[in-house]
């Protein structure tokens, strides 16, 4: 927790509209975040209330948008159970946080871009570069996106199982059917997904398998 205090201090230094305001001894950062574009100036402004779950820094902080610019509905990527923002599909968040995330990095690379996306959504009616579907569907889309084109749901299951069981070697033929060795073909994708860790992949695999059976 000593590190968290330091991180918050330097973040407030950089974003002076934020302040630390602990509630019932829960570490809380609140205030405004301005979206600034060097050519345009101030694009927009959002108010936030940020808390840190026990799993932090191995998961994102919890962010509530308190200026009420974003409707509190699932299709606007709000977890309606607690009104926090859904900032990334689960495996993506897991990958970003695998070595622990830093608060300033989180604001710069995750939160501010997310709010820019929301402002664009407000003006244009759609998100730039698309969005993932809700729930398990979004999870399918994420894995299918990572894998070579023409991957279907069964392939996703097979490949996740291969990673979890170490069932494919570098010199085996690639799973994509190219007849090249894996190390010369799609090894990099498996390496990336393997960073998620076996226990995490098993969790996603179970969810996907159950979904496929229904």
């Amino acid at each position: 927790m000593v590190n968290l205090s330091k991180e918050i201090k330097s973040a407030i230094n950089q974003y002076p509209l934020l302040k630390r305001f602990d509630k019932n001894s829960v570490v809380t950062v609140e205030g405004s975040l301005e979206l600034i574009n060097p050519d345009y100036g101030k694009v927009d402004m959002y108010d936030v209330e940020i808390t840190f779950p026990e799993s932090y820094p191995f998961s994102f902080p919890n962010v509530k948008e308190t200026s009420n610019k974003i409707p509190k509905i699932p299709s606007r990527h709000i977890n309606t159970a607690n009104n926090t923002l859904c900032l990334a599909v689960r495996p993506e968040e897991k990958l970003i946080c695998r070595n622990g995330i830093n608060f300033i990095y989180f604001i710069e690379k995750i939160l501010l871009p997310h709010f820019n996306r929301e402002t664009y959504r407000e003006l244009e009616g759609v998100y730039p570069d698309g969005e993932y579907d809700h729930g398990t569907n979004g999870l399918w889309q994420y894995y299918i996106n990572q894998l070579p084109s023409n991957t279907n749901k069964e392939d996703v299951i097979m490949i996740l199982e291969l990673i979890i069981t170490n069932g494919i070697g570098r010199n085996d033929l690639c799973y994509c059917g190219s007849e090249k060795k894996l190390k010369k073909c799609h090894l990099f994708i498996l390496d990336k997904l393997a960073l998620l860790g076996r226990s995490y992949l098993e969790k996603d695999l179970n969810e996907l398998k159950q979904d496929l059976m229904q």
Binding site: L35, V43, I70, C86, V89, E108, I110, F115
Partner: protein, 367 residues
């Protein structure tokens, strides 16, 4: 840091008023009226509403008094509020009903809709943003006025008129008792005179200003939005008297108190610069004579300069002040449609750049 959304706009609405105050997260509208190109005041103003909870939002709607040329098309606003598509944080109004002297049948429909909305709000016990109704009075503090409304930085409102207790039962009519207010916005001072009359200035406003000795500049404003579309009523009850009086007119004192650099006349036409051309409807030559005299004596306007640059007419088009890089600038020939589109496109492009700086490419909802 460049600011992009701080603007004060007076729309070209003929003999009426419609002004818009914008900050990034704040929209205030003073009076409703439409331009020639727009179908209604609602259509004119809709592009400037901000968003809150996915709905359109105006933080404050101030109706200086209930005449049709100040609340035109409120019916449409009421429909949108009732359909839960529009949030009007707080409505400011004069605070009386115009029942006493006028037949209900003669009251404009838009005013009756406004009254309905005010009554709806007044019935709510503990109103929140969206249900607030406020009667600005000279005696009130900013805390009263901005209940539940997030006031932008560097924004201040002073109510000069009306005063507590003056309503339809008093000697004044609803024009006399227009809401008169001074805005201070990033150091720019603008005084909205509504349709206020000489009578009320003489009886109440000026004596009150004289009492405020500790704040000599209380009514000082760089920009005066002239009363009643340039009508003689700002200078006296009787038009002939105002026109012929020489050299003192009742409300010269008000102009001294305000000390404006610019005068905005929200009217269908420019001031008639000679007695012969003045019709029944404002703007009136009788008023022009006094305004011109005051600006000649105080602001180095030349006698032969019939329409000096500091007389700005909405009949020439929308009048706009923009705050950029810590400075206010007048924008000539500003056109709302162009501005809205190009500004939105640029803002969208800027948001897209910001979005793509992220490491997460697409949002997802666990639903």
């Amino acid at each position: 840091m460049e600011q992009n959304n701080v603007n004060i706009t007076h729309f070209s609405v003929g003999n009426g008023n419609c002004s818009l105050i914008e900050d990034t997260d704040f929209v205030m509208i003073i009076d409703l009226n439409k331009t020639e190109d727009s179908d209604s005041s609602y259509d004119l103003l809709k592009p400037y509403f901000r968003k809150k909870d996915g709905k359109d939002c105006i933080d404050i709607l101030c109706i200086t008094h209930g005449d049709e040329d100040h609340c035109l098309d409120f019916k449409k606003f009421k429909e949108e509020i009732d359909a839960d598509r529009l949030i009007v944080g707080s409505i400011w109004h004069q605070g009386f009903d115009r029942n006493v002297n006028e037949d209900k049948d003669d009251l404009p429909e838009d005013y009756l809709e406004l009254r309905k909305e005010i009554e709806r709000r007044e019935d709510i016990d503990d109103p929140e943003f969206g249900d607030i109704v406020e009667q600005p009075k000279s005696e009130k503090t900013e805390d009263d006025l901005f209940e539940e409304v997030d006031k932008p930085d560097d924004f201040e409102v002073r109510i000069l008129s009306p005063f507590d207790g003056d309503d339809e039962n008093s000697d004044y009519d609803h024009n006399d008792l227009s809401i008169v207010m001074k805005l201070v916005f990033h150091n720019k001072t603008v005084l909205y005179a509504g349709d206020s009359s000489s009578k009320y200035w003489q009886d109440k406003i000026i004596p009150d200003l004289l009492d405020k000795t500790e704040t000599e500049d209380y009514a000082n404003a760089e920009v005066l939005v002239g009363s009643h579309h340039g009508s003689y009523t700002f200078f006296g009850d009787n038009r002939d008297d105002v026109r012929e009086a020489d050299p003192e007119s009742d409300n010269y004192e008000a102009l001294n108190r305000i000390g404006a650099d610019d005068l905005i006349i929200s009217a269908k036409d420019k001031f008639p610069a000679s007695k012969d051309k003045s019709g029944d409807e404002p703007p009136h030559y009788a008023a022009y004579k006094w305004y011109h005299k005051w600006f000649r004596e105080n602001k180095s306007v030349k006698e032969d300069d019939k329409h000096p640059k500091c007389f700005q007419y909405t009949s020439d088009g929308n009048i706009r002040l923009e705050y950029r890089n810590d400075e206010w600038k007048w924008v000539d020939g500003w056109n709302c449609e162009n501005d809205d589109n190009s500004n939105n496109e640029a803002r969208k492009a800027a948001a897209l750049v910001g979005a793509r700086l992220g490491v997460v490419k697409k949002p997802w909802s666990i639903g």
